[in-house]
């Protein structure tokens, strides 16, 4: 009796469960792929089959002839080919080109090379060079705000303000009455033109970023020397240790972090370039680094080239110089350097896209041109 009830209960439970949850396991019907067919006639089918049979006969016809083996490859010349080639043709009257032309084969008189040629006049300054020399003596740019005609003087009550503000008018209906303010003119309307170079910069005089930790080699040496000298002058008996002045130590650390230490004046200040900005510069130079005309020896030469950039990212041509090299000969180093130099000038003609607020970081660059991946493998 119990067994029957258990079986019945289990069966009902299974049935109810399947009705409730069966949809979860329901498989979706697979899409049916339909292919369009076309009906062809018996003649067309026969023609199609005939066309497919043809390559067999073609391959037999176009079987490549065995190439004749050159004597130099080691095969002894086949006797039957020799007589064929030796069949004396009816000796024609020697054509003009059959007879060796001795005079034309004789070498030319040795060309005399005169290394000294008239010295060229000094070329005119390259006025179209985008980079360069002119930036060494910067000239304040003329302000675009200068009009050919005198500007009408502003109203006496107008006065420059840092932020241009519109005059506040009293509301006619409702609302709170705003405190009346005087209208201020835009700064451009100032009667006196202050160029960008003359304008006092709002930027901090010193960067908030910490300077590089490592001092220059000369600084280290000087420090070591002074320490050495101090040690020699140090009394034999150390004075009793005093309680450290922790406040001054913290102050010193902050002062060092804020770059108030003048021992590393050449270190760049400001935020460093991000990896993406460096990659963008790398890609920009790579596009013009053409190694196609380099010799194989120059392709084994790595050169380090230093260049200074103007604030608009253009290379100063006169600043491009070779810093270091590895591999190759002096001639290949020269070729590699010239190619690198050409790349910098070409792709920097319009200025490298670099963040102007980080100019201090990229005004001097050392580029290592390593052609290892470009070598002929």
């Amino acid at each position: 009796m119990k067994t029957g009830q258990v079986i019945s209960a289990a069966g009902h439970a299974t049935l109810i469960g399947w009705m409730v949850f069966g949809g979860i396991f329901r498989t979706e019907q697979l899409p049916i792929e339909a292919t369009e067919v076309s009906v062809i006639s018996g003649e067309a089918f026969a023609a199609l089959m005939a066309a497919q049979d043809s390559p067999t006969s073609q391959s037999e016809i176009t079987q490549p002839a065995q190439p004749v083996v050159d004597n130099e490859t080691g095969a002894v010349p086949e006797p039957e080919t020799v007589p064929e080639q030796e069949i004396p043709e009816p000796a024609p009257a020697p054509a003009a080109d059959d007879a060796p032309d001795v005079s034309e084969l004789s070498p030319l008189p040795n060309a005399e090379v005169l290394v000294e040629t008239p010295v060229l006049p000094t070329p005119e300054p390259d006025v179209a060079v985008e980079a360069p020399e002119s930036n060494e003596t910067p000239v304040p740019q003329a302000s675009i705000r200068v009009a050919p005609e005198p500007v009408i003087a502003p109203d006496p009550e107008a006065r420059p303000d840092l932020v241009e503000q519109e005059a506040v008018q009293q509301m006619v209906t409702g609302g709170t009455v705003a405190e009346p303010k005087e209208a201020t003119a835009a700064e451009e309307a100032a009667s006196e033109i202050v160029t960008e170079a003359e304008k006092p910069s709002a930027a901090p005089e010193t960067s908030l970023r910490p300077p590089p930790l490592r001092p220059t080699r000369s600084a280290v040496q000087a420090a070591e020397t002074s320490e050495l000298a101090a040690e020699t002058q140090k009394p034999a008996v150390e004075p009793a240790a005093e309680e450290p002045n922790t406040s001054s130590a913290v102050d010193d650390a902050f002062a060092e972090a804020l770059g108030q230490d003048s021992e590393t004046p050449s270190a760049p200040r400001g935020p460093p370039l991000s990896a993406g900005e460096k990659d963008a510069l790398r890609v920009a130079v790579q596009q013009c680094w053409n190694v196609g005309s380099l010799s194989s020896l120059a392709l084994e030469t790595t050169v380090v080239v230093a260049v200074s950039l103007t604030k608009d990212g253009k290379p100063i041509v006169s600043s491009i110089r070779e810093v270091d090299s590895e591999g190759g000969t002096s001639a290949s180093v020269k070729q590699a350097f010239e190619t690198a130099r050409r790349a910098i000038i070409r792709c920097g003609a319009r200025g490298f896209q670099l963040p102007s607020d980080k100019y201090d970081q990229w005004k001097d660059i050392e580029m290592t041109f390593n052609p290892e991946r470009m070598r002929i493998k």
Partner: protein, 439 residues
């Protein structure tokens, strides 16, 4: 105590921060460049007298063709010029040339006086705004005006690429005319670019495998003049030739000069065995270098003359080997699938060019002398007979097309595998051998 720890921690944090800061100038490494022809301009050379105008144009065209044929340079057409060069001594307007992206500018002047020809040239690096090297002047005869142009090209090529040129050189080859089963073959010599073809022999006897001497004044070749293949040496200046003595009852072929030009290395077949011999040209004395029962042939000296690369089937398959120039044990350098043959040592000494037959196709390839870095440069129905340019940058070979009417044509290819191009000859050509640069 706590204050001291705090101070120390602060100092450590600042140290870590500072260590991340940039030291000195910004440093980047450039490892990926581009490989593209360098744009250059070659205006017509300035005629210094009325009779030189045409010559000035022709000279500039040959120089431009020389440079462009290398695949390393691309000529900017004259119609793109903003300014032109009308006076050889005038200053260069760099902005005008920079505007059309010319990176190099070749200017020249020509003066024809009777049979005398004077050619001057200067090379400018446009983006540097300076002359690249000093100007040069060549003097010669009007008949040799093409050599003048080639010499200018050699100088330009050398200054830009840093390696020697190869334009003022010649190629001796077998000129082929007629169908395959009745082909006439003659020795011919031409400029490297296929110009000025001259014939050294007639077509009465079959000639094979000419090879220039290191000085370019003699040619070794194999001829069936007596009915059997014998090695001959031909003086290019006088076109006189003589047979080099070889063993009686044997067949000699595949000769090649040693680097000093005093010795000839060649193959000699006796019965079914072929070995490599050397012969002193002055005394005619021969020395046998190999004695294996297999076929050893196609020997080629290293540039220093101390080693010889050759092909042999001693391992059961045709492979490349290197041995001392005095003979002795040989070292196998090729191990790939297929058959390797006709090895030729590079003038630089670092590579060996060869012919490879694999899977029904022929290839011209190069490998280092230890067999490493094998690189196949071509692939066709039949490529064979590589020869090196004097600077070791270009390989010339011949390619034969399929079928009874197939034609054999000379081709050249850069050792990078780029710039594969046919060398135009009046007739078909095979077995090229490149001369050294002419003096």
């Amino acid at each position: 105590m706590m204050v001291r720890i705090f101070t120390t921690l602060m100092a450590l944090m600042m140290t870590a921060t500072l260590s991340l800061a940039q030291q000195g100038p910004l440093r980047i490494e450039i490892t990926e460049g581009v490989i593209e022809p360098l744009p250059f301009a070659t205006p017509d050379f300035v005629a210094e007298n009325g009779s030189s105008t045409e010559m000035g144009t022709e000279l500039a065209r040959v120089v431009a063709a020389d440079l462009q044929n290398t695949g390393l340079f691309r000529e900017i057409p004259a119609r793109a010029y903003i300014s032109n060069v009308t006076d050889f001594g005038s200053a260069i307007q760099y902005p005008d040339w920079k505007a059309i992206n010319a990176q190099a500018l070749v200017t020249g002047a020509v003066n024809v006086s009777g049979n005398s020809l004077t050619v001057k040239f200067r090379l400018y690096d446009i983006f540097s705004g300076a002359e690249l090297g000093n100007g040069l002047q060549f003097q010669g005869t009007t008949e040799g005006w093409r050599r003048m142009a080639h010499k200018v090209s050699d100088a330009v090529y050398s200054r830009i690429t840093g390696e020697g040129g190869y334009f003022d050189s010649r190629v001796v080859f077998v000129s082929e005319m007629g169908p395959k089963n009745k082909r006439q073959k003659r020795l011919a010599v031409m400029d490297y670019d296929g110009a000025g073809v001259k014939y050294l022999t007639d077509s009465r006897s079959l000639v094979l495998a000419p090879r220039f001497s290191p000085t370019g004044d003699r040619v070794l070749y194999t001829s069936y003049e007596t009915g059997f293949p014998r090695i001959y040496v031909l003086d290019v200046g006088s076109v006189q030739h003589r047979v080099l003595e070889s063993g009686e009852g044997s067949i000699s072929f595949a000769p090649r000069f040693s680097p000093n030009g005093q010795t000839v290395v060649y193959s000699q077949a006796t019965g079914s065995n072929t070995d490599i011999y050397t012969m002193d040209i002055s005394s005619g004395r021969s020395t046998r270098l190999t004695s294996a029962p297999s076929i050893e042939t196609a020997p080629s000296y290293s540039p220093d003359g101390n080693s010889i690369v050759f092909e042999s089937d001693r391992s059961g398959a045709q492979q490349l080997y290197i041995m001392s120039a005095n003979g002795g044990e040989a070292k196998r350098i090729s191990f790939g699938q297929g058959r390797y043959g006709t090895p030729v040592w590079s003038p630089r000494g670092d590579l060996v060019a060869f012919t490879k037959q694999s899977k029904g196709r022929f290839h011209i390839g190069v490998m280092r002398i230890d067999g490493s870095e094998e690189r196949l440069l071509t692939a066709s129905f039949l490529d064979e007979g590589p020869t090196w340019s004097p600077n070791g940058r270009v390989i010339m070979f011949h390619r034969e097309t399929q079928g009874a009417g197939g034609r054999s044509t000379l081709y050249s290819v850069d050792i990078t595998g780029r710039n594969l191009r046919p060398v135009r000859t009046p007739e078909g050509g095979s077995d090229p051998s490149w001369s050294p640069l002419q003096k």
